[in-house]
């Protein structure tokens, strides 16, 4: 880089998107602005992800939410801290919302956007059920939310749907992935570490609950933007709220 600075060479720009497209390096300079930047400028400036420290990777949702499936159903867990830059805006926020008798939504990203889209999704699912006299399937709900979010690619909403016997991740930049373990947010790498180590299909309900609680607790321990309590939901045939407002601070660190 010293030689390039000496030669006053402009630092080569590479694409920031997921694909890290190498062709951007060799792209000839356009007279007008590159066509793919225009979408990114329409951010609504959500407070949750204003960072004071430069991160090495673009994870910018100040939360830890996770969902996984096992033989007894689905577990959804999340922390309860709402952060705005360096401020803990609210220590008791509900990031998991039941939106139907069998569906639960965990949210991360901009709090206002998530609340809005949850309500829109609830409305659309109920309208579908009234019009067609049958329940909208889980994957169809995820696809509906993904298609509704597609025109709004600038907003910073990231919704991890955990539903019925499936865990589906829907993001405001259009991703829609179905998986067995999904964790979203700035604390998600720490949660993944605990989950990948301890998860198996044959867990009992109590073991799965304690694993989810442990994963969120470890993430809140390490991540500054996650903390306070842990919300846990277990979904079987219906949504059952398992434990709410479990004080994470009183847990002893297990060796």
């Amino acid at each position: 880089m010293a030689l390039s600075d000496y030669c006053l060479l402009e630092r080569l720009k590479t694409s920031q998107t997921n694909c890290g497209d190498p062709q951007h390096i060799f792209m000839p300079p356009f007279p007008q602005a590159t066509p793919f930047i225009s979408r990114r400028t329409s951010r609504f400036g959500p407070p949750n992800h204003v960072l004071t420290v430069q991160r090495p990777f673009p994870l910018s949702h100040g939360t830890t939410t996770l969902g996984f499936i096992f033989q007894g159903g689905v577990i959804a867990a999340a922390d309860t801290r709402a952060s705005a830059g360096g401020l803990v805006a609210c220590p008791a926020v509900h990031k998991i919302t039941p939106i139907h008798s069998h569906l639960v939504v965990t949210s991360s990203g901009s709090g206002a956007d998530c609340m809005l889209w949850e309500r829109i999704l609830i409305r659309e699912i109920r309208l579908y059920e009234l019009r067609h006299k049958r329940r909208l399937s889980i994957r169809a709900s995820a696809k509906l939310l993904s298609c509704m979010l597609h025109p709004f690619k600038g907003t910073d909403v990231c919704v991890a749907l955990t539903l019925g016997p499936r865990v589906i991740y829907v993001c405001s930049d259009g991703a829609r992935l179905q998986g067995d373990i999904i964790s979203v947010g700035s604390g998600s790498p720490y949660a993944y570490g605990v989950l990948d180590g301890g998860l198996s299909w044959s867990l009992s309900k109590e073991e799965a609950i304690s694993l989810a609680r442990e994963a969120v607790f470890r993430a809140t321990h390490r991540d500054a933007y996650s903390g306070n309590n842990v919300d846990l939901f277990h979904i079987d045939a219906q949504v059952q709220q398992v434990k709410q407002c479990k004080y994470v601070r009183s847990q002893r660190l297990r060796d």
Binding site: T17, R39, P58, C147, G174, R176, L177
Partner: protein
């Protein structure tokens, strides 16, 4: 980084794609299928920006199927490739361009097998072999060196994750090849 490769033989096209769906540093899925079946003998492989890939590929997929419903016969691979390129070009200078890189592989009764390379700038090229992604830098030189047009299908060896082969009988899944740590 997502990777696609396609190789055309005398009577078949072999395509392969990696199976990882990643979000920055986290691998969210290990078994993500990037291939979209446009018709019995056409496959579309799509990589690029997270939501654009699925939205664009499904849009093309539904339109190709609609053509078949309306007209009673399927689009040829060349026609499907040109239709895809036209859509990419139309959206390129709009406010919402699609940032996707594509390989379209198909088998036509009259033209034989065909592999079409398209990228996010709406370029289109019919090629005997093509690849997208960082892996392309490595494999294209190998293919330049060793590719011969008449290579029979038994002598191919590719190490990749999800492999499909298209010939006059349609699309066949080949076994998923995974690299195991020794």
């Amino acid at each position: 980084m997502e990777y696609l490769i396609g190789i055309q033989g005398p009577d078949y096209v072999l395509v392969a794609a990696d199976n990882v769906a990643a979000s920055s540093i986290i691998q969210m899925k290990h078994d993500y299928d990037k291939m979209f079946k446009l018709s019995e003998k056409i496959l579309l492989l799509c990589v690029g920006e997270a939501g654009d890939t699925v939205q664009f590929a499904e849009y093309i997929q539904k339109n190709v199927q609609l053509y078949k419903m309306r007209n009673g016969y399927e689009l040829s691979p060349s026609a499907a490739a040109n239709f895809t390129r036209k859509n990419l070009a139309d959206y390129l200078r709009s406010r919402t361009p699609y940032h996707v890189n594509l390989l379209l592989a198909g088998h036509d009764e009259s033209d034989g097998p065909g592999l079409f390379y398209m990228d996010y700038m709406a370029s289109l090229a019919k090629a005997p072999f093509a690849a997208h992604g960082y892996g392309a830098f490595l494999t294209l030189s190998i293919l330049d060196r060793y590719y011969r047009p008449g290579r029979s299908r038994e002598t191919l060896s590719i190490e990749n994750n999800s492999v499909r082969l298209i010939d006059k009988d349609g699309i066949h899944d080949m076994e998923k090849i995974t690299l195991t740590a020794k």
